[in-house]
């Protein structure tokens, strides 16, 4: 049946949180906004830990490596969050490419190590790709079909140094139909701390898709690959896991796609009115964007946990 976007409070909180073995949290707009932790968020994570419930993190933000994210958690006052708990689209894109380029049956025999990856993104993303054992193509390299050490994938992430020249270089590689086109996430824009917006990976991917005539494989939410990564590492049971996020089109749809119950928190991108509009819509696709529950902030979940 369709989710009904009920406010989670009082007895409802205990009914929903009680049976949960763990919670998946989006990060931006849920745990923190810019350099400020959402008030009460660090305490919530601490209380989850004391209740014996798992907290894992799944973020479409492809700017930072999980090592940088671990330091960020600590700097913003969250205790006990380790890199292994954090699933960013940067990490998962690297894992995806490793699977596709270096996985069993690929790349081993030819001696070329699976080929190279042309990354449109910053150092955080590039580092994750390297850490996965992949080699990067350099910027400004000429693209020649039939090269000895071919570029086997173009990875589009958040790239604040994106240029026409890099777009052209990406398209050169994509002339080879064997070359994958992968995007870290579909987000069209991200909020800045002052309420302004900055363009997201989705806008850059649209440019690459248009020039190349190809559709990107999108690793991030709402697609389910990041959940596969989580299950592989931690073996979570979707029926006992809650997804908490601030963006209906990514977090809530991701939860729905992975079979998780979903909680919308209102400290980020999506407004309650948008969820209600989706609920009132006739379209089947819109119904999948409606959360099961909502809270004003994740601090509101604290009373649902044992003391």
């Amino acid at each position: 049946g369709m989710a009904s976007c009920r406010r989670l409070s009082g007895a409802g909180l205990r009914e929903v949180l009680g049976p949960a073995q763990g919670l998946l949290f989006d990060c931006d707009g849920v745990l923190w906004a810019g350099e400020r932790a959402v008030p009460g968020a660090p305490e919530l994570l601490e209380r989850l830990r004391r209740s014996g419930k798992a907290a894992l993190f799944v973020s479409n933000n492809s700017r930072r490596s999980v090592a940088e994210l671990e330091r960020r958690f600590s700097r913003l006052g969250f205790r006990g969050v380790r890199a292994e708990h954090v699933f960013s689209s940067a990490l998962c894109s690297a894992l995806f490419l490793r699977q596709r380029l270096l996985g069993s049956g690929n790349g081993g025999g030819s001696g070329s190590g699976g080929g190279r990856v042309f990354v449109l993104g910053g150092e955080g993303l590039r580092g994750e790709v390297r850490d996965a054992g992949l080699r990067l193509a350099g910027e400004g390299e000429p693209t020649s079909p039939g090269a000895a050490d071919p570029v086997r994938a173009v990875l589009v992430g958040y790239d604040d140094q994106f240029t026409f020249a890099k777009l052209a270089q990406a398209c050169g590689y994509l002339r080879d139909p064997q070359c994958l086109l992968v995007a870290t996430d579909p987000d069209p824009w991200h909020p800045l701390s002052d309420g302004k917006r900055t363009p997201g990976t989705g806008s850059l991917t649209a440019a690459v898709e248009t020039a190349s005539g190809r559709k990107a494989l999108v690793v991030g939410k709402p697609n389910t690959y990041m959940f596969d990564c989580i299950v592989e590492r931690f073996g979570v049971d979707p029926s006992r896991t809650l997804m908490v996020g601030d963006r209906l089109e990514t977090d809530i749809l991701f939860g729905k796609n992975c079979g998780l119950s979903t909680i919308l928190t209102l400290t980020g991108v999506s407004r309650l009115e948008e969820a209600q509009a989706y609920m009132a819509s006739d379209s089947a696709a819109a119904k999948d964007l409606v959360p099961n529950y909502y809270v004003d902030s994740i601090a509101d979940l604290i009373p649902g946990l044992d003391e």
């Binding site: 604040d160 994106f162 777009l167 800045l192 363009p199 806008s203 649209a206 020039a211």
Partner: protein, 178 residues
């Protein structure tokens, strides 16, 4: 105006020109994330009072040997995606340019031939505007593509089929007297 500092957080602080009422996206080999940021800021500031216009949607510009460079359409798509709104497109296949020409030169569509090399821009515009359409094969589109559209059930694809084709516009010379 130069942007202050290297990061998006800096660019978001750069002052916006209060007089800007439109963002126009054309072919820009110096397109960058920073410019995309500025475009987004103007569009968010102005809402519907700030126009978003694209010169055309061509996705790529062919070079010799099968290579191509990205076309304006890519940059338009990037801005549209970030701003989550659709641009008004001036160029073919939209009829705006034909209307400009027709109003200035008193053109009778039934006695005018549109000659082009791209089915999805030149021929589509010509067909939409009631012109006779002639495809020349010295450019982007191929006869195989035409066949594909002709054999398709989709009415939208039928509009991409030209009335005539030539291998090159030089083939028209014999028809033009001495």
């Amino acid at each position: 105006a130069a942007l202050p500092g290297p990061a998006p957080a800096d660019w978001a602080q750069a002052p916006l020109d209060p007089a800007v009422r439109a963002v126009l996206v054309g072919f820009d080999e110096h397109f960058s994330y920073a410019k995309l940021c500025q475009a987004l800021r103007y569009l968010l500031r102005g809402g519907p009072d700030c126009l978003l216009v694209g010169t055309n949607r061509d996705n790529r510009l062919p070079l010799e040997g099968g290579a191509a460079i990205p076309g304006t359409g890519c940059l338009v798509k990037a801005v549209e995606t970030a701003a989550q709104r659709e641009a008004f497109i001036v160029g073919k296949p939209n009829r705006y340019m034909f209307d400009c020409v027709a109003s200035e030169f008193d053109i009778d569509p039934s006695r005018t031939i549109m000659v082009g090399d791209r089915l999805d821009t030149d021929i589509l515009m010509g067909n939409s505007c009631g012109l006779t359409t002639l495809l020349t094969l010295t450019g982007v589109s191929t006869l195989d593509e035409v066949k594909g559209h002709q054999e398709s059930d989709c009415p939208a694809r039928q509009s991409l089929v030209p009335d005539y084709y030539v291998d090159s516009i030089a083939d028209l010379l014999p028809a033009l007297g001495d």
